[in-house]
Each structure stands twice: as C-alpha cells, then as structure tokens.
C-alpha cells in the first residue's frame, strides 16, 4: 500500500484532477465578466472596382476602423482575434461573408485602437453582383482563453454601399 508505485499513481491522479478543476474554474470565471465592446467603421475610399477577366467582381477599399475591445480581456484571456467582414446578399446566394481585415490583439493595451488600412484580403464576389450593392460591415471578435471555453461575438454595422459603376 505504500510502495513507490502506489504513491506515484496517487500523486499523479490527484494532480491531474486538481489541474482539471482549476482549468474548469478559470473557464467558468469568464462568464462573470462584464463586456461592452464598441466599434465604428468608415469607408475612406473605394480604390478599385472592376470585373476580373473570368467574370467575378473585385473591390479594393480603404477602411478606417475604430474599436475599443478592452472590456473583453479577463485574467484568463490569452488573445483576442478581431476581424472585419463584409456581408451581403446576391440573387444566387442568400448570404456572402468576406473577411476584409483581421488582427491578433495580444493584450488589453492594444485593444483600443484606430487604424486606416486597405483590405488585407481580396473582396471577390461569386459573379458580378456588386454594382450598387448594399452591404453590412461586421466587426467580429473571438476571445481565445488561456484555458477553457472560447467566446465569439460581433457588432453589425449596416448601411454601406458600393458605387453603381465600375472604376
């Protein structure tokens, strides 16, 4: 009953159980944090708007993104992944979501920011439906914890539109 094997086994089992318990508590504590992030996006410029040679529209635009995601950070947060996506509908597709820009926010200090950037990823439609198209810009965030459950949510900003003619 007191051999090395039994003691090692008991110690191992106990430490694994204790670690699992601590991870669960850490993850649960995230549910109690009060979160109120805010964001605002302006389109500064439509740089290019054309039809690619094989029939798909492509847009390049410059965005001005202001956001305050500081309230998302808890002691159990490893990083927040934020991205901006354009959402719109076309005759063939009930929903299109195209990610335009993303960033990894490693800590609270970097979570309040304003940047002006052209879209990091190409905004290409399946077809040529984008002339005069109205779309939403959504800022999504994905909270990645040090351990446990991941949270994601978004702010939807409607009311943006593309020009009626190619540029």
């Amino acid at each position: 009953m007191h051999s090395f094997g039994y003691r090692a086994n008991a110690l191992f089992t106990f430490s694994v159980t204790a670690l699992a318990f601590i991870c669960a508590i850490a993850s649960l504590s995230d549910n109690f944090s009060d979160q109120n992030p805010s964001a605002e996006i302006q389109i500064l410029n439509i740089n290019r708007f054309k039809k690619q040679s094989y029939e798909n529209d492509e847009v390049s635009l410059t965005l001005d993104i202001t956001a305050d995601l500081q309230s998302l950070f808890t002691w159990n947060t490893k990083q927040v992944f934020a991205f901006v996506a354009a959402e719109y509908e076309t005759p063939k597709n009930s929903l299109n979501q195209v990610s335009l820009w993303d960033a990894i926010i490693p800590d609270k200090e970097h979570a309040k920011f304003r940047i002006q950037t052209s879209n990091k990823y190409r905004f290409i439609d399946q077809g040529h439906n984008l002339r005069g198209k109205e779309f939403n810009l959504t800022l999504h965030w994905h909270v990645m914890p040090k351990t446990g459950k991941m949270f994601a949510d978004k702010i939807v900003m409607p009311g943006y539109s593309l020009p009626d003619a190619y540029k």
Binding site: G5, K78, A85, Q97, S99, D102
Partner: protein
C-alpha cells in the same frame, strides 16, 4: 507426497483465479474508456471530439501540443469560426479559421474558404487540385474549447513509437505484478 501435490495444485489454482480477475479488471478499464469516448462522440456530434494541434499555423492562439475540444451542430457555418476539416484523400485534420462563406439560396449549401491565423495566404493551396472551396461535408467540427499542453503526450507517442511501447509494457507489468 500427496499433500505436496495438493499444495502445488491449490497454488496453481489461486494463480489462475488471480490472473483471471486481473484480466477482467483490465478489460473493464479498457471498456469503460471506450464507453466514455463513444459517449463524448454522441454528445458533441463529431467523430473526433478532441484533436491535438499539430502545426504552428494558428499561433499564437494555438500552439503545437494544445488540445482542442470540438462540437458539430447543424448551425450554419459562418466566418470567424475555427473549424477542423479533412481534405479528400488526406488523413490529417487541419484546424483553421473560416474567412469566407457563400451560402446558396436554393440548396443551403455553402462554399467555405479557410486560413490559418499565422499564415500569410489562405488555404487554397492546401485543398485538393482544382478545389476552390470547402463544403460542409469536409468539416468535422468547430473548436469550442481549448486545453494547453495536454496534447504533447499524443504527439510524443506518435512521433517516437518506442515511448508508446515502453508505456504499454510498463502498464502491463504493473498489472501483472500488483499483489491485490
């Protein structure tokens, strides 16, 4: 001389009973582990409720050796979700984020494009030749939770199979030599 024979026999029979008990106990442990695994598959709705992160393409969020807890529901696939998918003809599951979704009005089918957070380009080059999008049937689950470092055990056992044999051998030895 008769009672020596009897003693030997009784010793032999005790050993057999002990051996059988230990075999049954071992069988029970293995079977309960299997039951727990299958139950997790039912609850989470995916074939593999747990995956180990194998590459650095999602750093710094997920490092090699972390474990991801997965769940698959009938909810539509949307951008920002971290999904685990398999390319046709390849065995290794890949964990990346969805960056583009196009959902058909009539059929509800989706075209999905993914990208690893730490990669510069999207996953088009990873897909099969000529494939431009992922579809729902490629996706095995969404990542909902995360445990750091625990997956290193699996990585070590896969990359250095010697360790796997040593561990199993040691466990077997422990079972056989335990006195109760």
């Amino acid at each position: 001389m008769g009672w020596i024979g009897e003693t030997v026999d009784s010793i032999k029979s005790i050993k057999i009973r002990q051996l059988l008990t230990q075999a049954v106990t071992l069988g029970m442990i293995v079977t309960s582990a299997l039951i727990i695994w299958k139950a997790m598959m039912c609850v989470t709705g995916t074939e593999s409720p747990v995956v180990v992160v194998l590459s650095g393409s999602m750093e710094p969020g997920f490092q090699r050796g972390d474990i991801l807890l997965l769940r698959m529901t009938k909810d539509p696939i949307r951008t920002g979700e971290i999904v685990v998918f398999k390319i046709d003809g390849r065995d290794i599951p890949i964990v990346h984020r969805v960056i583009e979704v196009h959902e058909r009005k009539t059929t509800g089918k989706v075209d999905v494009l993914t990208k690893g957070d730490n990669n510069d380009v999207d996953d088009i080059d990873l897909y099969a030749d000529g494939q431009m999008w992922l579809h729902r049937h490629h996706i095995m689950g969404r990542a909902v939770g995360f445990l750091p470092y625990v997956g290193w055990v699996t990585i070590i056992m896969t990359e250095k199979p010697i360790i796997k044999y040593i561990l199993i051998g040691a466990m077997g030895l422990l079972v056989i030599t335990s006195k109760d």
